[in-house]
């Protein structure tokens, strides 16, 4: 497998979605290609950082309007 092949299979490799033979071929390439290894590692890291991002807090006025709309639809909530 060449560098182009690695990039083409990058997502499948990261997702653990590769056929074992293709995975072995890809990892053999990574064993001697620093550039591809760097791209794989940095892409994994990028996804990790994205996954770790926390949702922004819902603005209070948006939240109030949402709950008001829900109450109009489903009726008052017993607390």
């Amino acid at each position: 497998m060449n560098c182009k092949g690695v990039i083409r299979e990058l997502s499948n490799y990261i997702d653990g979605d590769l056929d074992p033979a293709v995975k072995q071929e890809l990892e053999r390439h990574l064993g001697h290609c620093e550039d591809c290894t760097m791209i794989v590692d940095q892409t994994k890291k990028s996804i990790e950082i994205l996954c770790d991002s926390k949702p922004v807090e819902l603005p209070s006025e948006v939240r109030s309007r949402l709950h008001a709309a829900l109450r109009r639809k489903i009726g008052p909530v017993q607390t």
Partner: protein
């Protein structure tokens, strides 16, 4: 499309049920979701029996994440709010059609993604299409190759990093952005994402690859060794 998803079980194509049954399939590359809670199915069951408090608790639990989703897809505050509100209202209206084949949250994400897409298409009818053919791989090779620190994210304060990520996501073309959000942020499987967007699995994979490469390239400008904060 959304209404078609929610009609009663009668009349669905077999592949739709196959997709539903796969909704809870684990994703190999990610950590266990912090969203799933053990009592979720109890709340859903109570809400289905008409307990408004239980439904409101589900809303409280997921409103932040659903707003992030609708905001990331639409890129517009007003549309994001509309899409979120409509998603929760539709979820309530169609609660009886949710059979627990997937997590409630995943089901909700699919509704919210559809609501967001409808608004995005309305706002930018000529600017993007998810139906375009899958692109070739001629221009995939990354050009910017530089070392990163072992934990590059530590160079930034949490808020600053969130800002960088938000800007990067916003800069991505919508067709790539949406797939990245559904797969990597909202943790839908490839099949779920394809179903939610009405595109093929190969189109999801192709767009995801491009989006991830683009994300790396853009983060590289912040994370490469020697870059000043």
């Amino acid at each position: 499309m959304l209404d078609a998803i929610f009609i009663t079980e009668k009349g669905y194509k077999p592949e739709f049920w196959g997709i539903l049954s796969s909704l809870s399939a684990p994703n190999p590359h990610r950590l266990p979701s912090s969203v799933a809670r053990e009592d979720e199915h109890l709340l859903v069951a109570a809400a289905k029996k008409g307990n408004a408090t239980a439904f409101e608790e589900l809303v409280n639990r997921y409103e932040d994440k659903i707003f992030r989703l609708t905001k990331n897809i639409t890129g517009n505050h007003e549309d994001a709010e509309d899409a979120m509100q409509e998603a929760f209202l539709k979820a309530y209206s169609h609660l009886q059609d949710f059979h627990g084949d997937s997590r409630f949250y995943t089901w909700l994400v699919r509704i919210a993604a559809n609501e967001s897409l409808m608004r995005l298409r309305k706002r930018r009818p000529n600017q993007f299409s998810l139906d375009e053919p899958v692109e070739g791989d001629t221009d995939l090779m990354p050009r910017e190759l530089e070392d990163w620190d072992p934990s590059p994210e530590q160079r930034y304060a949490h808020v600053e990093l969130q800002g960088i990520l938000a800007e990067i996501i916003d800069q991505l073309d919508p067709e790539f952005r949406i797939v990245l959000i559904l797969r990597d942020l909202e943790e839908l499987s490839t099949q779920e994402s394809a179903e939610a967007l009405g595109i093929s699995i190969s189109a999801v994979k192709s767009r995801l690859l491009r989006a991830r490469l683009k994300l790396r390239e853009k983060l590289n400008r912040h994370f490469r060794r020697g870059t000043l904060n």
